[in-house]
């Protein structure tokens, strides 16, 4: 899991997932 610093009460987490033969960095922004 990758995390970004919490800014303006918003947190972003990400994880790199393999989809078939490609790689998606899925990023989710959520409010604190």
């Amino acid at each position: 899991l990758a995390t970004s610093s919490i800014k303006h009460n918003t947190l972003c987490v990400a994880s790199i997932v393999r989809y078939k033969r490609k790689y998606v960095t899925q990023m989710l922004y959520a409010p604190l």
Partner: protein, 162 residues
Amino acid sequence: STIAILPSSLPQIHRANMLAAGSAAATKISPLSIKKSKTKWHFGIRSRSYPLDVMGEIYIALKNLGAEWAKPSEEDLWTIKVRWKYDMGQPTNEKIPDLMKMVIQLFQIEANNYLVDFKFDGWESSYGDASPSSNEDEMSTFSAYPFLHLTTKLIMELAVNS
């Protein structure tokens, strides 16, 4: 080819034209300069607290969020095997695995600098069906969003508690 870029549409020229036309508001309006700040990414979350305190904080946060965990083995106090009931609010008659598993592990980066790593560890069913243990390699379409969502809740709980 007569494909071109319309000169009067370029921001600098448009601005000059607007100021020349004597628009009152034009002097006050500045271009949007969103600093496309490169998001700074970290692996997991870092902590400078005492290792056992970090583990204690994590257990408290997990408890507050209603998660459960396997009793840690003596040899490895720094890994927590978590199971989290993932109820989606709406009843679904189809039996889908509703227990998300996660592994939380504390790593030491250097003297009093630690990293808490979160790893997705598959799904289980609370009604006992042995969910198809498709191993990591075969599994190629899984949605990371429930995992990402639960880690945001856990990180927020830790941030709020600390």
